[in-house]
C-alpha cells in the first residue's frame, strides 16, 4: 500500500505487523479523549525505522493525505523520507470526524495531529531513557533517533518501538510541541504521497475497485427529480448478453435519500448500459415537472417588486440614506444553477454478506452515508464497514451519499459484490446543484465618495422561511457591519431541484454580487476601486464579535499586496482591463486582480491573475497550497465564463461536457500567488481562493469595455463592439 494503491489487506492485518502502534482517541475539539481501552492507531514504527502514518480524511485532490501526516511526522521528529501513509477507514471512534468539507482539515487538525505526533515522540524518548537509566529530559530527538548527549548514546525509533508501545500514553493536552523555528517538514514543499502511483496509472479511485465475483450496475432515475417509475421493460434489458438482473427500486420521496429508479446489473458495465438502453422507462408525473429556470427567474423579478418575505438585517435607515445620497445605483444580479462535474462520475462498490455490508466509497462525508445506508436498508450502522477511496474530484458533490445508498441497495438485492457507476449524463442530471439566485441591489454614495447606504433584496430558493440547502446568505455577510445604513431582505421561491454545497458554497455566488456592486459604487463615486475598498474596510483591525468577527486589517493587507504585485494603477494596453475583488471565506482572507483583454468581437482573453492570501502563520505544504490556489482560481474563471445548468420541465437540460463546458488548457492564464504570514493559526485552502476571482474578472471586463457583467455565465455577445 506504500504506493497508495487500493488496499488488499485489511487494516487489522496491516497493524498486526511488527513494531509500534501508537494510538490515541481524539475526540471532538476541546473534549476529553475517549476512554474505554480502544486503541486508535495513527502511528506505526517498523523495526527498519519506516514510519507509517494514518491519513484520516478523504482525499479528493486537496492534498490531505499528504498534509495531515506531515503534521504528525513533524512532531514525531522523523524524516519525511521515512514516512509512508495509509488511508484510514471511516472510523470516528478512532479518528474523530473524518470529512472533506469547508476547508476544515487544517483548522480542525493543526493542533490535534501535531499533538499525536508529539505524544508518540514522548513515548519513544521514555523507552530510550528507561533503557539507559537516564532522565527523559536529558534526551533529544532528530530524524527518528533518540540521543543522550551526555553519554553519546543513540537509539533508532525502530529499535525502541516495541518497548515504547508499552509506555503510558501522555496527556495530549500538555505534551510539549516544537518551536516553529525548528520545523523541518511543516512549511516545506512536499509532493503528494500518491503522485508516483497517479502518474503510473495505478488503480487508486473508486471506479477502479475490483472484487472477486463483482458485477457492474447502472441505475436509471427519472429526469424529473424524484419522479417514480411508471414502466420499464425489464425483460428487454435482461435479454442483453451479459445482463444478469434488472429491477425497479421503489425508493422514497426525499431527495437526500434513495430515489426511485431502475437498476440493471451485468458482468460488465458496458453490458449493463446496453441493457439499460432497452428499458424504455417511463415516469410518473411529479410536481417538480412544472418548474424551470425561466419560471424561477420570472418569479424572482416579480418578488423583487413586492414586500420581502423577511428582513434579515436592518441597520440604520437605508431609505433615508439613499434619498440623501449624491448618487444612487440600482442593479439586478443573477447567477445560475451549477453542477459539480467531478471528472470521475459518481460510483460506489458494495458487498453484502452474512448481514454485513462492506462499502468502498469515494465519499467526502462517510458517516452520514453510513447512517443513510443503515436507515434505508434497515441494518445496524455497526454492520457497515466503509473504506475511504481516493475521489476523482470532490467539490462538495461527494458530501452527499446518494450513490452510496444506491450501491448498497443493489448489492444486497443481487447478493453479489456490485460496482455501481453513473454515466456522465446521470452525473450531470442528478446533482445537488449550486442554487441559482437573484439579488436586487440599491446603493448610494455620498459627497466624500463613501457608501452611504446598501440595500439587497435577495430572492433565493427555499420555502416556509428556510433557505434551500446552500441557498442562504448570512446576515453578517460583508459589507454588513461596515456600513451604518445596511439592509438585507430575503424572499424565497419553492424549488424541487436538489441543491447543495459546491466549492466555497454561498461565497462562490455572493462574492460575485457584492464585489461587483462595490465596483459599481466605486465608479459612481469616481473613486479608484482599490482605494474605495480600503476605505470601506476602514481602520479597525476586526469588525464584529467573536467567531463571526471580520479581520478587516488582514483583508486590507492582502488588498494592498495584490495591488502592489499586479502593478495596480498602471495604464494597461488597449483593450485590456484590470479588476480587483476580495472575499473572506473558510477562515481565509483573499484579494485577487485579474487582467483581461477583450477584442472587438467580444472574445475574452485571460491575461494574468494575481492572488494575495492570508491563511495564517504557516503554509503547511507550499507545493500543494499553490496547486489549490491555482486550481480554485481557474475553477472560478471557468464558472464565470462557461457554466450553467438550465432547469426545463423539472429536469437539467445539460448532460455532458458538450453543453456544460469546462475550462481547457488554452484559456488558463498564468497565476501569481503571494502569501502573507500573519500571526494566526493556519487555515484551509481548498475553497477561499475561488470566490474573489469571479468579480475580479467581471470588474476587469468593465475596466476594459465599460460593460458591467450582472449575470453569469458571462455572455460575450454583449461585449461586442464591432
Amino acid at each position: 500500500m506504500a504506493d497508495g494503491t487500493l488496499p488488499t489487506a485489511s487494516r487489522r492485518e496491516v497493524l498486526a505487523g511488527a513494531g509500534l502502534v501508537i494510538g490515541f482517541s481524539i475526540a471532538g475539539k476541546g473534549e476529553a479523549a475517549e476512554t474505554g481501552g480502544k486503541l486508535n492507531a495513527y502511528v506505526q514504527v517498523a523495526p527498519d525505522n519506516t514510519v507509517t502514518i494514518a491519513a484520516k480524511n478523504p482525499e479528493i485532490g486537496q492534498g490531505v493525505k499528504t498534509m495531515l501526516p506531515m503534521l504528525i511526522a513533524e512532531e514525531l521528529d522523523v524524516d519525511w523520507s521515512a514516512v509512508r501513509t495509509r488511508q484510514a477507514d471511516s472510523d470516528p471512534a478512532a479518528y474523530g470526524r473524518q470529512f472533506a468539507g469547508g476547508s476544515m482539515a487544517t483548522p480542525l487538525n493543526w493542533d490535534e495531529l501535531r499533538r499525536v505526533g508529539a505524544a508518540a515522540r514522548v513515548m519513544l524518548v521514555a523507552a530510550a531513557a528507561q533503557g539507559w537509566g537516564v532522565p527523559a529530559s536529558e534526551c533529544a530527538t532528530a530524524s527518528g533517533v533518540v540521543h543522550h548527549k551526555a553519554s553519546g548514546r543513540k537509539a533508532t525509533y525502530g529499535s525502541l518501538a516495541a518497548k515504547a508501545a508499552e509506555a503510558p500514553v501522555p496527556d495530549l493536552k500538555t505534551v510539549p510541541l516544537k518551536d516553529a523555528k525548528d520545523y523541518k517538514i511543516i512549511g516545506q514543499p512536499k509532493r503528494q504521497v500518491d503522485t508516483a502511483a497517479i502518474v503510473a496509472g495505478k488503480p487508486l479511485f473508486g471506479i477502479d475497485v475490483t472484487l472477486p465475483g463483482m458485477l457492474y450496475a447502472t441505475f436509471e432515475k427519472a429526469p424529473v427529480f424524484g419522479a417514480r417509475v411508471a414502466s420499464a421493460d425489464l425483460a428487454a434489458a435482461k435479454r442483453v448478453k451479459g445482463v444478469t438482473d434488472a429491477f425497479v427500486v421503489e425508493g422514497g420521496e426525499s431527495l437526500d435519500g434513495l430515489l426511485p429508479g431502475v437498476a440493471v446489473v451485468a458482468t460488465s458495465w458496458w453490458a449493463a448500459r446496453k441493457g439499460r438502453d432497452r428499458l424504455a422507462a417511463t415516469w410518473a408525473d411529479h410536481p417538480t415537472g412544472a418548474q424551470s429556470s425561466a419560471a424561477f427567474e420570472a418569479r424572482a423579478v416579480e418578488l423583487s417588486t413586492q414586500a420581502p418575505g423577511k428582513t434579515e438585517r436592518n441597520d440604520g435607515d437605508v431609505a433615508a440614506a439613499l434619498a440623501g445620497a449624491v448618487k444612487t445605483v440600482e442593479a439586478a444580479y443573477a447567477y445560475p444553477f451549477l453542477a459539480h462535474a467531478n471528472l470521475e462520475p459518481q460510483n460506489c462498490t458494495a458487498r453484502f454478506k452474512d448481514g454485513k455490508l462492506e462499502i468502498w466509497a469515494p465519499t467526502q462525508n462517510p458517516e452520514p452515508g453510513r447512517q443513510l445506508v443503515a436507515k434505508t436498508l434497515g441494518i445496524a450502522p455497526e454492520a457497515i464497514t466503509i473504506h475511504l477511496i481516493r475521489c476523482g474530484g470532490g467539490f462538495g458533490r461527494r458530501l452527499s451519499n446518494d450513490y452510496m445508498v444506491e450501491a448498497a441497495w443493489i448489492a444486497r438485492q443481487v447478493g453479489a459484490p456490485v460496482k455501481l457507476l453513473w454515466t456522465r449524463e446521470d452525473d450531470m442530471r442528478h446533482d445537488y446543484y449550486r442554487p441559482a439566485g437573484w439579488h436586487f441591489l440599491k446603493g448610494g454614495v455620498g459627497a466624500s465618495g463613501e457608501i452611504v447606504g446598501w440595500h439587497d433584496h435577495f430572492v433565493s430558493l427555499g420555502q416556509e422561511g428556510a433557505f434551500a440547502r446552500s441557498a442562504g446568505m448570512s446576515p453578517t455577510e460583508f459589507p454588513a457591519r461596515f456600513l451604518a445604513n445596511y439592509r438585507y431582505d430575503s424572499s424565497l421561491i419553492p424549488c424541487g431541484v436538489p441543491t447543495g454545497p459546491l466549492r466555497a458554497p454561498g461565497s462562490n455566488a455572493i462574492a460575485f454580487v457584492v464585489q461587483s456592486f462595490i465596483d459599481e459604487l466605486a465608479h459612481a463615486a469616481g473613486a479608484d476601486p482599490v482605494a474605495f475598498r480600503l476605505k470601506l474596510l476602514g481602520d479597525k483591525p476586526v469588525v464584529g464579535e467573536g467567531a463571526s468577527g471580520y479581520a478587516a486589517g488582514r483583508m486590507a493587507a492582502v488588498v494592498k499586496l495584490v495591488a502592489e504585485k499586479s502593478g495596480w494603477g498602471r495604464k494597461p494596453p488597449k483593450g485590456h482591463g484590470l479588476g480587483v475583488a476580495f472575499h473572506y471565506s473558510h477562515l481565509g482572507y483573499f484579494a485577487e486582480v485579474v487582467e483581461v483583454a477583450v477584442d472587438p468581437g467580444g472574445a475574452i482573453k485571460l491575461v494574468k491573475v494575481w492572488v494575495a492570501a492570508d491563511i495564517g502563520r504557516h503554509v503547511i505544504n507550499p507545493m500543494g497550497a499553490l496547486n489549490q490556489v491555482e486550481g480554485s482560481v481557474l475553477d472560478g474563471l471557468s464558472v464565470a465564463l462557461h457554466q450553467k445548468i438550465t432547469i426545463e420541465n423539472g429536469a437539467a437540460a445539460e448532460s455532458n461536457f458538450g453543453d456544460y463546458p469546462l475550462m481547457r488548457i488554452g484559456e488558463a492564464p498564468p497565476i501569481e500567488t503571494h502569501f502573507i504570514k500573519s500571526d494566526h493559526s493556519p487555515t484551509g485552502l481548498g475553497e477561499p481562493a475561488l470566490p474573489p476571482v469571479l468579480p475580479a474578472l467581471c470588474n476587469a471586463i468593465f475596466a476594459a469595455t465599460g460593460k458591467r457583467i450582472r449575470r453569469l455565465p458571462i455572455e460575450t455577445e454583449l461585449l461586442k463592439t464591432a
Binding site: 502518474v199 479511485f205 471506479i207 448478453k241 460488465s268 458495465w269 471528472l343 462520475p345 461536457f657
Partner: protein
C-alpha cells in the same frame, strides 16, 4: 466474439461484442484500469490511449475498429523514453490534484512530444485542448510538458 488485442506489448484476448468501446474492454474485461471514464463521448480525454502511436479516445472507439494495432496505455507508456520523461516531469512538478485525468493528460502529452519534441505554447494548447482537468492543474501541465521537452518553463 473473441478479439486478440496487443496491449502494452502483450497479446490479450477478450470475448466481447464488437461494438464495445475499447475503454470498457480494457477496464472490465482485461483489468487495465489506468484509462479512465469521464464522458463517454470523447470530450474529456480521460480515456486517452495510444493506438499505433496516435492518441485516441478509447471511450468512443469500438474494439472491432482496433484490429491488430498496438495499444499503449498509461501502464505501458513508461517503457517509451519520451513517455518516461513525461511521467518524471509530472512527478517532479507534482502536477496532480485528484489525479483522475492525469493518465489521459500524460498520454496526450507523450503523443505531442513524440510528434513535436519542442512544442510551443500554441502546440500545447492544441494538443492538450481535448483533455479536461476538472481540478484545473493546467499551469503545471504546461510546465511539465515544457520540462519534459527540455524547455524552460515561464515564470
Amino acid at each position: 466474439m473473441a478479439f486478440r488485442l496487443n496491449v502494452n506489448g502483450k497479446t490479450m484476448s477478450a470475448d466481447v461484442d464488437g461494438d464495445t468501446p475499447l475503454l470498457w474492454v480494457l477496464r472490465d474485461t482485461l483489468g487495465v484500469l489506468g484509462p479512465k471514464y469521464g464522458c463517454g463521448i470523447g470530450a474529456c480525454g480521460a480515456c486517452t490511449v495510444h493506438v499505433d502511436g496516435a492518441p485516441l479516445r478509447s471511450c468512443s472507439t469500438p474494439v472491432e475498429a482496433v484490429g491488430a494495432a498496438k495499444i499503449v496505455t498509461i501502464e505501458g507508456v513508461g517503457a517509451d523514453a519520451v513517455g518516461k520523461r513525461v511521467q518524471e516531469a509530472w512527478i517532479e512538478l507534482d502536477v496532480a490534484q485528484c489525479g483522475y485525468c492525469q493518465p489521459g493528460q500524460i498520454m496526450s502529452a507523450t503523443a505531442l512530444l513524440k510528434a513535436k519534441p519542442r512544442p510551443s505554447d500554441a502546440d500545447i494548447d492544441e494538443a492538450m485542448g481535448g483533455n479536461i482537468c476538472r481540478c484545473a492543474t493546467y499551469t503545471r501541465i504546461r510546465a511539465a510538458i515544457k520540462k519534459a521537452s527540455g524547455q524552460a518553463a515561464e515564470a
